[in-house]
Amino acid sequence: MAAMTPVSREPLLSVRGLSRHFGGLKAVDGVDFDVPAGQVRAIIGPNGAGKTTFVGMICGRIPPSAGTIRFDGADITDMPAHRRVLAGIAYTFQITSVFANLSVRDNVALAVQRRHVGGKGGRLSPRAFAAEIGAALARVGLADRAGETAGNLAYGHQRLLEVAMGLALSPRLLILDEPTQGLSDAEIDGFIGLVREIAGETTVLLIEHNMPVVMALAERITVMDQGRVIAEGTPAEVRGNRTVQAAYLGAPVDA
């Protein structure tokens, strides 16, 4: 063991002492959190644990009350949200938030063009632009619905469109906030396959209530309760953790 020098690589995302208070409520309370590049990390915890608030601070939607956020070695605590997206952090909303009155194609086009107009990707020909939109839609299985109005899609399809928009940004960190909420079992199976595929190219932060999905996808799990991290470990470790069972699961997870 001693012969091997540990490779000390800074994690892709590194959070220290992150807090957010709403009045007297400590929604997130002094969280330390690291995610190495390439990992699929799940964040679980009961409703109101502070998960959405926590990732909201990472992507820049919610300003922290205290603490620091480092992404890829740089302090991004004060970086505006739109610049974090360009830096590679993409967020898909817990409450579906597609552009309901625009076509499915235009929804994805907005994500694709962000990388190319004034972004790093350079200008695209109309043909290449359309091809990228088609590819992003094909990945989530919505290719044949490009012309439909997004608001007319079934709920599950709107969630998938939301994911397609995140993917079209080619993020380095993709944050998915309860992506399977409201999906059918078949759609959930498809979603698991999709995240496995994405996991090869990007780091994923997955907030999820559906334990089979978490167990199928997560390499590591962080458990939050009342604004704090109460446990962190591999799925097997978390499953056996008494505190977690008491605070959140109520019963052994493998039930």
Partner: protein
Amino acid sequence: MSPAAPHGRVIALHLAVVALLFAGEFVLPAYHHGVMARIMVLAVFAMGYNLLFGYTGLLSLGHAMFFAAGMYGAGLTAYHLGWSVAAAFPAGIVAGAAVSAGIALLALRTTGVAFMIVTMMFAQVGYLLTLYFGNWTRGEEGLTLAPAARLLGPFDFTDPATRYFAALALFAVVLFLTLAVVRAPFGRVLVAIRENEERTRMLGYDTFANKLAATVLSGTICASAGAAYALLFGYFGSTFATVAYSILPLLWVLVGGAATTLGPFLGTLAMYYLIDISNDVLNRHFPDWDMSYLGTVGVALVLLVLFFPKGLLGTLRQRWVVWLP
């Protein structure tokens, strides 16, 4: 909007409208010829307003100040400094760009109703300034430009035909500029901001910067209409800075169809003639009614809400002609 929209058909339609207006020069009777020149300039005002209200979703109640900035920027330099049209017209545009940039930086800190009120208050300040500096502006009475101040090289704007073509030229430039903007990536971002600003921000767009650009572009286009109005028709006064001239472009855009490229022109045309004709009819048949044009406007709005809730072209697009930009 989408890459699949038929590009050729859209361009052809806009060219046809410009061609029709060109033909108007030769077929319109003198009265309507004069009216049409005015409508084209006012339609430019409406197109500028539409960019911010229709496409970006920001309801301003202060666009009279941008129109007036262009009008006074051109008119005052021509009247007091003896600037030629070639210098006074750009002066009006620069004045409009400066005013809209300054106002945007302050007003865009607010949204919704607050934005409406803030823009209205600023426009009211603008109006009062035109009265306060009455020594130079002659307030409500206004100023009339000498014929010599309305010459651009060989073009004499006191001549109706020249005036008509000048109005048409500005109209065509702004129409195709609007078309280019709303079909460009920038236009798509403006629509996205209108539909869901928070989502747009989380796709990586600096929504404040985009709204700022939209406001300045909108204000500058409206200023070009104001500058053209002063130079083509040779008169400018405080009336054009009143709140009525902030409401009118909103009305024209609502009637013609918000977020349609041709709606502002259609709305301006429809409302201008509606008020004109109904005033005639009412005065002739019911001389003792003494109805103001506001009555006509009210009736028109009720009918519009009932039968064309998205304006003439907006409803047309929704029901039948989906490819309309």
